[in-house]
């Protein structure tokens, strides 16, 4: 073997060592020293490298070829064998004191190897700035058997008894209620509600103020809403009420899902790519100022059926809001994050995926909340103008059929369901941005 080939073996040994845990964090001098202390050898197919009974003093690195390691038949009769290939290290048991006879190593084909005396390895590690403590610890972990590892983990984390889930939830709820009752704002809120509903009651039922007499009173609405046999056929006990709610919710769900799955990618592209923005944004901005409801007749003409136009209109409103906010989010990602990612070797696409997408999430989620609100706005309007079933339709037909209490039921239900969907979107959003919640928790006054 000429000097060049030998030198390349050392270099490849060093490269292999560097790529192998736990030698990666070693300094260049340590790796140099290890590489210099290495010895090369070659084995023919079938040749034994070390035997079960041989004393274990060397760590082996496979440069080329495959080595087969076999354990002696353990008591339970399972014969364990594995193969190590190029750039892999074996013979680890030599690092543990007093272990011998762990396995038999045999060359599976023509093999070229490098070996290092483990005492030297330990010496080099000891000379490292931190005493190579981390490396040694990682080695010990790598060398320990699964049983040992489990025992170690158990001693670090004592087993905790956890109360059953329902019990925990209940106590959490209890403490939340108590904390709410303690805050002064709660009483302000109650006062506000009392004023609102009380005022309504006074204006319509008690004082019978001039314009208010035509409106349904709170008592009438409440009675109608809760009655098992409502005068106008709609209350919480009738199924038609839930049919209307479901019709609206279903349309919102479909439209919102479509708008999000289309709006987020489009928004990201508009924000991140000048080319895309140059071609698409002009059309986008041309169509956006047209109020959604202005699309109603065209939508009815273009789309067949009664469901599609409504879903389309809701989708359109949502889409614009989502895409616009997502675009804002993509553009507001600070450039130094992108530069940092590129510096660290990321390609433009990787920078997009790892930086722009997560970085724009806060804006995207705000956009989604706005989008849900806008969706309800458009849906209610669209349902009032055309279509069958749905809360907007309910409100409209109640008016034409002079069923005034039902109008109010419809309005309040609409408000409540809208609020619920908003809260759901916000909740999901906050779960997705754990990092931001934690950050904000630290800076909160």
């Amino acid at each position: 073997m000429g000097p060049d080939a030998a030198e390349s073996d050392v270099e490849s040994a060093r490269d292999v060592l560097r790529a192998i845990l736990p030698f990666q964090s070693l300094s260049a001098e340590a790796l140099e020293a290890l590489a210099h202390a290495a010895e090369e050898g070659a084995a023919a197919p079938g040749q034994t490298i070390y035997d079960v009974s041989a004393p274990a003093t060397y760590l082996y690195v496979v440069v080329r070829g495959t080595v087969r390691l076999e354990r002696p038949a353990p008591p339970d009769g399972v014969h364990a064998a594995r193969a190590v290939g190029a750039r892999e290290v074996f013979g680890w048991h030599a690092m543990r004191e007093g272990s011998a006879g762990a396995e038999l190593a045999k060359a599976a084909g023509a093999v070229s190897l490098v070996r290092i005396d483990t005492r030297f390895v330990l010496e080099v590690l000891a000379r490292e700035p931190n005493g190579g403590a981390a490396t040694i610890e990682a080695l010990l972990v790598a060398l320990s058997t699964p049983a040992e590892r489990r025992a170690k983990r158990a001693e670090h984390e004592p087993h905790r008894r956890r109360r059953p889930a329902p019990q925990r939830a209940l106590s959490a709820l209890g403490s939340y209620v108590v904390s709410v009752l303690r805050r002064p704002e709660t009483y302000g809120r109650l006062l506000g509600y009392v004023l609102l509903f009380g005022g309504w009651y006074l204006a319509v039922d008690v004082l019978a103020l001039p314009r208010f007499t035509k409106l349904p009173g709170i008592v009438q609405v409440g009675r109608e809403w809760l009655s098992p046999d409502p005068v106008f056929g709609l209350s919480i006990h009738t199924s038609v009420y839930y049919d209307h709610i479901w019709a609206s919710v279903r349309r919102i769900a479909i439209a919102f899902a479509l708008a999000t799955s289309l709006g987020v990618p489009v928004g990201l592209a508009l924000g991140a790519s000048t080319t895309f923005r140059d071609y698409v944004f002009p059309i986008f901005e041309l169509l956006r100022p047209i109020p959604i409801l202005a699309w109603v007749p065209l939508a009815i003409v273009v789309f067949s059926g009664s469901e599609t136009p409504i879903v389309f209109l809701t989708f359109l409103a949502s889409f614009f809001a989502t895409a616009l906010n997502t675009r804002l989010g993509a553009r507001s990602v600070e450039p130094h994050y992108i530069l940092a990612a590129r510096c660290l070797g990321a390609s433009p696409w990787q920078a997009f995926w790892h930086v722009i997408v997560p970085g724009s999430l806060p804006y995207v989620l705000t956009g989604l909340q706005i989008s849900v609100g806008v969706a309800w706005f458009s849906l209610a309007a669209a349902e009032m103008v055309s279509g069958q079933f749905g809360l907007g339709y309910l409100i409209n037909t109640s008016y034409t059929m002079v069923q005034y209490p039902t109008i109010v039921i419809g309005m309040l239900t609409l408000g409540f369901v809208g609020f619920l969907t908003s809260a759901i979107v916000r909740f999901i959003g906050e779960r997705m941005m754990v990092w931001r919640a934690r950050e904000l928790a630290l800076t909160a006054p």
Binding site: M1, P3, A6, E7, D9, V10, A13, A19, L21, P22, Q24, S25, S27, A28, E32, A35, H36, A37, A38, E39, E40, G41, A42, A43, A44, G46, Q47, T48, I49, L113, V114, R115, P129, A134, T135, A138, H336, Y337, L339, A340, A341, R342, C343, L344, G345, A346, S347, Q350, H354, V355, P358, G359, L361, M433, V434, W435, R436, R438, E439, L442
Partner: protein, 291 residues
């Protein structure tokens, strides 16, 4: 089946010394304008610098004098209008030609650029993972080790927003070094830290640099910081930026905090300060003129 025993040969051999150190930079006649047309401003005027491989080269100068421009050109963030930059003998960028962005020259930013949405561990392992040089599990393990070696064990699962700025800075340096860059570019990285944290950072940086074998290019205002860290300190003129003077800090590494009181250190600081002060006055006058 036992065959003839394997013959083992020792491979002890000396390797060429130059292979060990990387990151020699040569800047020749760098020129950069900002703006265009009549309001064009000459920011860097035929500046030439030689950074030796493996050294910590510190650049000091008044603000706005164009030091960041040189760093950005090396990193590949913008191009020079004139002059060339070579890295380890190979052309990095020429006039109107931007250097390729790459992990052989990693920047540590002034305001920190740790990704807030990734955990510390994910941040540090980012480089090798996106480049594909290590498998994900290996990269994470190596990241954990490097963090432990830097004294940051226990922070792996935290998010950057939850940690102090000292921790963040160190993590960012570790993240850069995961890629074994030839050049570490530090643009006033410790500017926003308080004095106590800064001194901890200085020692950490020196320790980390000793292990890395690459070159570090460090920009700062703080003359004491410059002399403490640097092997050589270059003082730049106020706008337009040109090399005014290079001082050799002949205090040997490794440097302990105690050298700060030594006579040699104080002499160097005084000398550097007077040179910088001259330029700072000029810059101030310039700024006042422009209102």
């Amino acid at each position: 089946m036992m065959t003839a025993p394997i013959v083992w040969k020792s491979s002890a051999r000396r390797l060429p010394a130059s292979e060990v150190r990387r990151g020699a930079i040569q800047i020749v006649d760098a020129t950069k304008f900002y703006g265009s047309g009549a309001s064009r401003v000459l920011a860097v005027d035929r500046c030439s610098l030689d950074v030796r491989a493996g050294e910590i080269f510190v650049i000091v100068g008044p603000s706005g004098c164009g030091k960041t421009t040189l760093l950005n050109a090396i990193a590949g963030f913008h191009e020079l209008d004139g002059g060339t930059i070579h890295l380890d003998g190979k052309l990095l960028c020429g006039p109107r030609q931007r250097a390729r962005l790459g992990s052989d020259r990693v920047v540590v930013f002034q305001n920190g650029a740790l990704f807030p949405w990734k955990t510390i561990l994910d941040n540090v392992a980012f480089g090798p993972i996106v480049q594909g040089t290590l498998r994900r599990a290996d990269a994470l393990a190596k990241a954990g080790q490097m963090l432990a070696d830097a004294g940051l064990r226990g922070y792996e699962r935290s998010y950057p927003g939850e940690t102090s700025s000292g921790v963040k800075r160190r993590v960012e340096i570790v993240r850069a070094l995961m890629n074994r860059p030839a050049v570490l570019l530090l643009d006033e990285p410790f500017r926003a830290l308080d004095a106590l944290t800064k001194s901890v950072m200085h020692e950490a940086l020196l320790a980390i640099h000793a292990r890395n074998r690459g070159t570090a290019l460090f920009i700062t205002h703080d003359v004491e910081e410059a002399v403490f860290l640097g092997g050589r300190v270059a003082v730049m003129t106020s706008r337009p930026c040109r090399l005014k003077k290079i001082l050799d800090v002949d205090i040997p590494y490794p440097r302990a905090r105690s050298i700060v009181t030594s006579k040699r250190f104080r002499d160097l600081v005084a000398e550097t300060t007077s040179v910088v002060h001259e330029e700072a006055l000029k810059a101030h006058a310039l700024g006042e003129k422009e209102g």
